[in-house]
């Protein structure tokens, strides 16, 4: 997770959004309910980004959460576990509160079993609880609040309904700014959910920017074989190119959540146990690794008791144990080195990088969008005199703000409503990159490495600007395509302006006839 949070100054668009909110608060000053909602949206602008983790039951959401936070606090279990939407946010000291549907917020005692929180709802049934909030002093939570949700296809429909209401409410913008969606195989219900999430966006599909797909439990894709993660990578690549998924997620990456969680929270005692097993000859350990039953057999000739071995399996998984033993045998005699390598192999770093690129850098944009949609909702639900100008402002920002238009065009490109294939095979990819698909920094937009010099940057930006201006005049494009080219040119102009260069309008080529 990015640690930087919102340290940079707000853009012009964000300031415009704030002023819209303040105007609305003033207009509705006699309507207390509306004011409360509007103030909540205002506050939200200052809060960290809200990232929800969703997916089918047992897809590994809570495990990934723990891996991201770096501590095993969210409870996980063999059976269905998370039954209530749970927010994890930064706090100075650990605190758990319960927000019921009706009634007062109350605090729950902090009880941990082997490090995991025991979230005991007390006399409240899960259906009566709107959410649980866990405040935790983890640096990873400074940049974003992570929301853990129950599976979307739980056996008890009430449980999945809670997730659906939170993430894809019927008539409101979602309570989450961004979504990490976990899937193990591509199932029809996954696609349906992602489409619902996209459709909750009023006025503009932005899920290409605010949704990341994660192929979870990646180690199980290859049935625990040592080459499982290779298989997982090719599966993820296939899903990434899937026409439906391309429209709904910016990308799909494989993650072995259990491995990541174990790596980040590995204890010295566990390392010692793994080393003790690795020290045995392979003739002893290989048969043990054939199945989980054999690994925990009481009569196995290893100096680690069966209950500890079972605990290792629970923590690392079959793949994790096999991998760890291989590493220890090949010379990794250091717990830190082992844990780092496990984390690296798990794919967690890629997820963190994506979160930084797609979410943290765009945090301001995403929150502003949520806020605008929220105000729009209020205006429609509770019409009030004197709010016409506000409605116009919202419309103007959503339709006109450059950042939003970039997202809209990126969505259209992904959905192949617009295509630049006529200009060459890589043009679509270049266009997506320019719109920020791989990052909002100038270097990423132009596809340059981090060691590019300023001159190179200038030159590349100029070239791109020229190219897109020319393409905007091409007769091979329809109106939407031409307008997209103009937008891309505008992006380049913005980049040049940021570089401090003069943007001289190039002569447009003479029109035919």
């Amino acid at each position: 997770m990015s640690e930087s949070g919102s340290g940079r100054s707000p853009s012009a668009m964000e300031q415009a959004v704030r002023s819209v909110l303040l105007d609305a608060v003033e207009a509705y000053q006699d309507d207390t309910i509306a004011v409360t909602v509007l103030r909540q949206h205002l506050d939200r602008l200052e809060e960290p980004l809200r990232v929800a983790i969703a997916g089918k039951m047992k897809s590994g959401k809570s495990t990934l959460l723990n891996a991201l936070i770096g501590e095993e606090i969210a409870p996980t279990d063999a059976g269905e576990c998370t039954r209530v939407v749970t927010w994890y946010q930064h706090g100075v000291r650990p605190r758990v509160t319960l927000t019921p549907n009706t009634g007062e917020v109350r605090e729950l005692p902090i009880r941990r079993i082997e490090g995991r929180l025991q979230l005991d709802l007390g006399e409240d049934a899960p259906g009566d609880v709107e959410r649980l909030t866990v405040e935790w002093p983890s640096p990873s939570l400074r940049g974003a609040t992570i929301v853990d949700t129950p599976g979307i296809d739980s056996l008890s429909t009430n449980v999945s309904v809670r997730t659906m209401t939170f993430l894809t409410p019927e008539d409101e913008p979602s309570s989450a700014d961004a979504l990490i969606y976990l899937l193990r195989h591509l199932h029809a219900s996954d696609v349906r959910f992602l489409e619902s999430f996209r459709d909750t966006a009023v006025g503009g599909n932005a899920t290409v920017a605010n949704t990341i797909g994660v192929l979870s439990r990646a180690d199980e894709i290859g049935a625990g074989r040592i080459d499982s993660l290779l298989s997982a990578r090719s599966v993820a690549a296939r899903y990434r190119e899937h026409p439906t998924i391309r429209q709904l997620c910016s990308t799909v990456v494989p993650v072995a959540g259990l491995l990541a969680q174990a790596g980040r929270t590995m204890r010295q005692s566990e390392y010692a146990e793994l080393a003790a097993i690795a020290d045995q000859p392979r003739t002893v350990t290989d048969p043990m690794l054939l199945s989980v039953g054999r690994f925990v057999r009481p009569d196995a000739p290893v100096p680690v008791p069966p209950d500890r071995r079972a605990a290792l399996l629970d923590r690392f998984g079959v793949f994790g144990v096999r991998l760890a033993l291989t590493f220890v045998r090949s010379g990794m005699r250091d717990a830190t080195a082992l844990s780092q390598e496990l984390v690296r192999r798990s794919g967690l770093d890629e997820v963190r990088r994506l979160l930084a690129v797609h979410f943290s850098e765009r945090a301001g944009l995403l929150k502003a969008r949520s806020a605008l949609l929220g105000v729009d909702r209020v205006l429609r639900d509770r019409p009030h005199a004197g709010t016409e100008t506000i409605a116009v402002d919202i419309e103007r920002i959503l339709a006109g703000a450059h950042e939003f238009r970039e997202l809209a065009v990126l969505s259209s490109l992904r959905a192949t409503h617009i295509t630049f294939a006529v200009f060459g095979p890589d043009t679509n990819e270049a266009a997506e990159r320019l719109l920020g698909a791989s990052g909002t920094g100038s270097l990423q937009r132009l596809g340059l490495g981090s060691n590019a010099t300023d001159t190179e940057l200038h030159a590349a930006t100029h070239d791109a600007l020229r190219a897109w201006r020319v393409r905007a005049e091409s007769p091979l494009l329809d109106r939407a395509g031409a307008s997209a080219c103009r937008l891309l040119a505008r992006t380049c102009e913005g980049m040049l302006a940021a570089l401090g260069t003069d943007v001289t309008p190039t002569e447009a080529p003479p029109k035919a006839g």
Binding site: K56, M57, K58, A78, G79, E80, D153, S154, L155, T157, H185, L186, H187, A188, S189, D190, V191, E195, R217, E220, I221, G222, A223, G224, S228, S231, S234, V235, R238, P243, T244, L290, S291, V292, G293, R294, V296, A310, L313, D314, G317, V318, F319, A415, H417, D478
Partner: protein, 612 residues
């Protein structure tokens, strides 16, 4: 099994010995059924739960393709064969639609087993020179397949863009047993429990297999959770945890310990007893019923003669009674017989009902489709709409099929009832007046069991044969493959046409919506047409089967009665001294036939309690 064969032989012997060779063909068919059981087991489950590997482990051969990513796309059938052979079934057609719905003949082609993977997995497109793959079949020499076991590996349900769930449900009435496969990674999901609920209604023999116990440490906990879910849904089914990987290794290394750990001994035992055993019981029962049927007819002629001989005073009454019965059985064979009317009218009605039901369901789909299209620009939602539409259509076709199947069975029962009411069931009750203790009392004849008129093995097998699982699958694949919303066909004018630029965007959208609605309706008409045609063909077969069956029964009835009358008349002419001799002969024959009847009822009940 041998007892049964011997019994059939004795019955044939008795039949020919008493001048009723006409009963022998039925007994021959019964023996055939014992020799060729054909027990069909479907292996079903969600995407990537380990079905193909399970089948491979059961038959100890890498037949069904297994891959980390791609999955089985068409059903693969495995059966016994003296020599190994691999067949693929294809239909000619450029697209799946043409192939499945044209009614073009099913082509069987032998292919080398190594190529099977290429044909059967979805990644490769299952297409070959304008032919569409609809199924594959592998024959192997394996002990587990010896007693007629046929295992079908099905494509997973729930995978994206698949109407497989609907197809699998439609296959269930035709299966003898179903194994639901789910891995030990997590407990049963709602779709899996829903599927099980439907499955137990449609198939008598359902069991659950929990796979991949070698890599999931908490598999025991998952098994317990699963059992709780099953109990909660009121589903009675055995749950067997296994590991296919361990089994395959155990067999290769001949490691008994590992084999035991794999859990497969339990599964194999279930297949042999719970599936094959039960099927054998059903087969035996049906054969025993056939034998009992033959015995009763034999009994009739013998008894008729006997009663006349013993009680000459009443022989006129006896003969009159028999004549009256023969007239009734004559009436049964006529076209105007009530059961024939019921059958013919019933089939016509059912045909109309099936079509109406299909129209009704699709009316709902059209309504929903139009709602969706009114709210959106069709070109933006083309792919999702297509998928949604195909899923709904496949659901409707499958529901319609299952319902039609139930109605056909109900119709068969109705026809049997009318047949029985018209006197087709009971052979005349010939009671003989009590004589002074010299003779044994004659056993009153029980009416022929409803069961073995209406549901003799012939009917059930015949009805199943008329469907053929491949047909159903093909139909639905065909429907799924029909390209519905072709953006080019709808928006062709837009990209290149001059008109488009002048039209307002709203008008363009409205035009697309209109065009799409037209396409939807046309598509639905096509679907109804094809479904109705299939239903017509099926019903025609069912009608023929039922009609032939009941006419046969009436024929037998008539024949027996004619024989009885002739024998009774002969007996009444018999000279007194010959009477005693003849009575003795008849007593002996009757005792034989009684013994046959008794043994057949014993064997048929025995099967219910003892599983070999």
């Amino acid at each position: 099994m041998d007892d049964l064969r011997q019994l059939v032989e004795r019955a044939k012997h008795a039949a020919s010995g008493n001048g009723r060779e006409d009963l022998c063909p039925r007994l021959d068919t019964a023996t055939q059924r014992l020799d060729e059981p054909g027990v069909r087991v479907l292996v079903v489950g969600e995407f990537k739960q380990g079905k193909s590997l399970l089948v491979n482990a059961l038959i100890n051969a890498p037949v069904c393709p297994v891959d980390d990513d791609v999955a089985t796309a068409v059903p693969t059938t495995v059966r016994f064969g003296d020599e190994s052979a691999t067949l693929v079934f294809t239909r000619v057609g450029a697209s799946t639609a043409d192939a499945a719905l044209d009614g073009s003949p099913l082509e069987r082609r032998v292919v080398p087993i190594d190529d099977l993977e290429r044909y059967v997995t979805e990644q490769r497109g299952s297409r070959d020179h304008g032919r569409r793959l609809v199924g594959a079949e592998v024959s192997l020499r394996r002990r587990i397949l010896e007693h007629g076991l046929v295992i079908v590996d099905t494509p997973g349900v729930g995978g994206i863009g698949s109407a497989h769930a609907a197809m699998t449900i439609a296959e269930l009435p035709l299966a003898d047993a179903v194994l639901l496969v789910s891995d030990a990674a997590q407990e049963y999901s709602e779709p899996e429990i829903d599927f099980l609920r439907q499955a137990v209604k449609l198939c008598p023999n359902v069991a659950c297999v929990l796979t991949k116990t070698d890599i999931y440490p908490r598999w025991q906990q998952i098994a317990e959770l699963d059992k709780v879910h099953l109990a909660g849904a009121g589903i009675i089914a055995e749950l067997m945890p296994v590991s296919s990987t361990l089994r395959i290794q155990a067999v290769a290394a001949d490691d008994r310990e590992m084999n035991r750990e794999s859990g497969f001994p339990g599964l194999v035992r279930y297949v042999q007893e719970g599936i094959l055993g039960r099927a054998e019981v059903l087969a035996k029962r049906s054969v025993a019923l056939d034998v009992a049927y033959a015995a009763e007819h034999l009994s009739l002629s013998l008894q008729g003669e006997l009663s006349v001989l013993r009680d000459p005073a009443h022989n006129q009454e006896v003969i009159a009674g028999l004549e009256a019965a023969r007239l009734r059985s004559d009436a049964l064979k006529r076209q105007s017989a009530r059961w024939q009317t019921t059958l013919n009218d019933g089939v016509v009605d059912l045909q109309a009902d099936i079509e109406y039901d299909m129209r009704d369901r699709t009316r709902g789909i059209i309504r929903e489709a139009e709602e969706i299209l009114d709210a959106a620009d069709p070109s933006l939602i083309a792919t999702q709409f297509d998928e949604w539409f195909q899923q709904r259509v496949a659901e409707s076709v499958a529901d319609n099929f299952v319902w039609a199947h139930e109605r056909s069975q109900w119709l068969a029962a109705q026809v049997a009832e009318h047949f029985a009411e018209a006197g087709g069931a009971a052979l005349p009750d010939l009671r003989v007046a009590d004589t002074t203790g010299v003779l044994d009392p004659v056993r009153p004849m029980p009416p022929i069991e409803q069961d073995h008129i209406s549901f003799g093995g012939k009917i059930l097998i015949g009805m199943r044969g008329s469907y053929g699982g491949v047909l159903m699958f093909g139909l639905l694949t065909g429907i799924a493959g029909m390209a519905l919303v072709n953006p080019l066909s709808i928006g062709a004018g837009v990209v290149l046409g001059q008109r488009a630029y002048k039209e307002d965007k709203m008008n363009r959208i409205k035009r697309r919506q209109f065009d799409t609605k037209v396409v939807v309706r046309r598509q639905i008409d096509e679907v109804i047409l094809h479904v109705a045609k299939q239903a017509r063909d099926r019903l025609r077969q069912v009608q023929r089967l039922l009609r032939d069956h009941f006419i046969d029964v009436a024929d037998d009835m008539q024949r027996s009665l004619t024989e009885s009358i002739a024998a009774a008349q002969r007996a009444s002419q018999l000279a007194v001294e010959d009477r005693d001799r003849r009575i003795r002969e008849l007593d002996h024959a009757v005792a034989q036939v009684d013994a046959i009847t008794q043994q057949s009822s014993q064997l048929s009940m025995q099967g219910n309690t003892v599983l070999t």
